[in-house]
């Protein structure tokens, strides 16, 4: 059994591809169901967020399983394999485990340290658990991913990074507007980071909140959360005239706000300053807008740079986090390989029991006159001899050693255990 990760994220794939491969709502249930029917796939869980789509699987053979999974992705989403194949990463063994741990610990996030990915990982596995598509391996992987993420959070300051990006946004707003109370704020789109920054602004006293979302219902939901007003996406331009601070994160593949549009807005606003934070990847706000007088546009990289100049220790924290990940990956791999010897131990015991039963039967046939008590005594003797004999190899198999794979092969050969890989 091997761990396999098939996925793409904001670094490897454009938003168009991410969107087309996403498993939203009912698609997730259907997708997981279809995936679990692939014979090579023993366990499966699917993570689908706005920045990544990842399949966590436990497979009997990596090459054929990945081939099937890729075909499934193409068929399920109505794409050609060549459309997305080069954006995909296929990871197995320890690199797969490492990837899952890094994702959960938010080291692979667009904004390193953002807190919501861990919740999304939990949801992913809970959902798969509910659908009974996970087993020993993925369950353990999930548990370990979560505990590793918690270790990273408590033992390093990496989580502070996301907070400091929101904090930097508030600080910048203060250098433009002096005071946030009395200022109006628009959340354009949604998303982990945007909502965190929005919450920071609201906590710092921004008074008037507007929430714009392509799905009006989602907009209403968020508006309730921030006690603001929902506005339909079509109307957001006219609303901009009354908006001082904008956080944008729509996941649209193109610019939703162009320079000419913003120029018109500024004229109507009589040039009152506007602070725009564009967290979207790819960017949703035309970068040229920063050249308009009294408009200050910061994208996520700009904010990261602001934070980096303040926090010199960030690199050190990241190194510390990677070290924790290394440790946890090693532990997990050790556990996983210990699983490998389980089938051999079981087979060995079975083989011994078979021999014992066979020989006892022969013995009974040769000495049919023996009474029950004597037969029992002989059976007892046979049992203790077989147990004594298989005890040392069993212990050796259970022991954690580097040459365990060799040992497994050797024992299989010595006892004539055929490589039947139907495991535990």
């Amino acid at each position: 059994m091997k761990v396999l990760v098939v996925g793409l994220n904001h670094k490897t794939a454009s938003v168009e591809i991410r969107e087309r491969l996403a498993f939203n709502g009912p698609k997730l249930e259907e997708g997981i169901h279809v995936l679990s029917t692939i014979p090579e796939v023993k366990e499966i869980a699917v993570l689908s967020t706005c920045n990544r789509v990842e399949l966590y699987a436990c497979v009997s053979s990596v090459p054929s399983a990945s081939d099937h999974i890729l075909n499934f992705l193409a068929g399920f989403h109505g794409l050609g394999r060549q459309d997305f194949e080069k954006s995909l990463y296929l990871l197995d063994a320890d690199s797969a485990v490492r990837h899952v741990f890094r994702v959960a610990s938010s080291l692979d996030s667009m904004v390193v340290g953002e807190p919501q990915i861990l919740g999304q990982i939990k949801d992913t596995f809970d959902f798969a658990l509910g659908k009974k598509t996970t087993g020993v391996l993925l369950n353990k992987l999930m548990k370990k991913a979560i505990s590793t993420a918690k270790r990273v959070r408590t033992e390093t300051k990496i989580a502070e990074n996301a907070v400091s990006i929101s904090f930097a946004a508030v600080e910048l707003a203060r250098k433009i507007f002096t005071d946030l109370p009395g200022k109006s704020f628009m959340l354009l789109g949604a998303g982990e980071m945007a909502e965190l920054a929005a919450r920071h602004l609201v906590n710092n006293g921004v008074t008037h909140v507007t929430v714009v979302n392509r799905t009006y219902e989602r907009g209403c939901e968020l508006a309730r959360e921030f006690s603001g007003n929902p506005v339909r996406f079509e109307d957001f331009l006219s609303e901009l005239v009354h908006t001082d601070i904008i956080i944008c994160s729509t996941g649209a593949p193109t610019y939703v706000l162009l320079r000419e549009q913003m120029q018109k807005v500024m004229k109507e606003r009589k040039n009152r300053p506007v602070f725009i934070i564009d967290i979207s990847v790819p960017r949703n706000i035309d970068p040229e807008i920063n050249k308009i007088d009294n408009v200050y546009l910061y994208d996520v990289d700009d904010l990261q740079e602001v934070v980096d100049t303040n926090i010199h220790g960030r690199k050190k924290e990241a190194e510390k986090a990677e070290k924790i990940i290394d440790e946890e990956v090693e532990k997990f791999i050790r556990w996983m390989t210990s699983l490998n010897s389980v089938p051999t131990i079981v087979a060995l015991r079975q083989r011994a029991e078979e021999i014992k039963a066979e020989e006892l039967e022969k013995f009974r046939k040769r000495f049919p006159d023996l009474d029950e008590d004597k037969l029992k005594a002989v059976a007892y003797l046979a049992a203790s001899i077989t147990n004594k004999l298989i005890h040392p190899p069993t212990v050796a198999l259970k022991e954690d050693s580097e040459d365990r794979d060799e040992l497994i092969a050797m024992i299989k050969k010595l006892y004539g255990l055929n490589g039947d890989d139907e495991e535990y």
């Binding site: 433009i176 507007f177 002096t178 009152r272 300053p273 700009d302």
Partner: protein, 270 residues
Amino acid sequence: MEVILFEIALTFYFASAIVCVLELFKSTRTSSIIMFSLAAAGFAFHTANIIARYVISGHIPITNLHEASSFFSWCIVLIFFFIEYRYRLGLLGSFIMPVVFVLMLSSSMLPRKIEPLSPVLRSYWLGIHTVLAFVGDAAFAMAFVMGIMYLIQEHYLKSKHLGGLFERLPSLQILDEINYKLITLGFPLLTLAIITGALWAESAWGTYWRWDAKEVWSLITWFIYALVLHVRLIAGWRGKRAAILSIIGFGVVLFTFFGVSLIMKSVHSF
């Protein structure tokens, strides 16, 4: 006596300016208290010097370039204290006090002798006209400094390199707001100074307006600041453009003040 007062004031301003420049690099609570105390001491002696000259000459001591620069500095320090009291901008002193010191230093190098005032100028208009003009000019000077600070801060925010003074410079909004308030203070004062000047000219020479170089340049200054206010109110020219305009405006003020006095012939002795 008044000379010693002036020198003491100059020395205090100098010390304060030094602390101000050092504050650009590192500012603590103590350093700003020291800076303000030195500036306040300088201001006290400066005020005493002006009063002494008033007592000696019997009229408002704004009759030559030495006195003019000195009084101009005095007005700037006064407005500086006022803004600092009202807004607590912190870094403002670092921009203001060196300028005050340079103004005072140039004043100290100009002839200081108290000359008897020609009878034609001996009028209550002297005090009203000059004080209005100088407080107005000082307001424009402060607006100029606000403009400079605005442009620096704006540059940090636009270029996204938030090093140097970014942390300690005030917000753009407050700089723009103070800039605007100072111009709305300076503009009516300049207007009144021009009107009182005309009335004084009429009572002294029998004519309101003689197209004297100083008069012409004051009028140009007036038009520039009228334009600054107009485009701000009508076209919403705020922020960067307003800052640039207030810098240009003060350039013209300086020319009217020093340039005209030194280059052109005028009935104004400064």
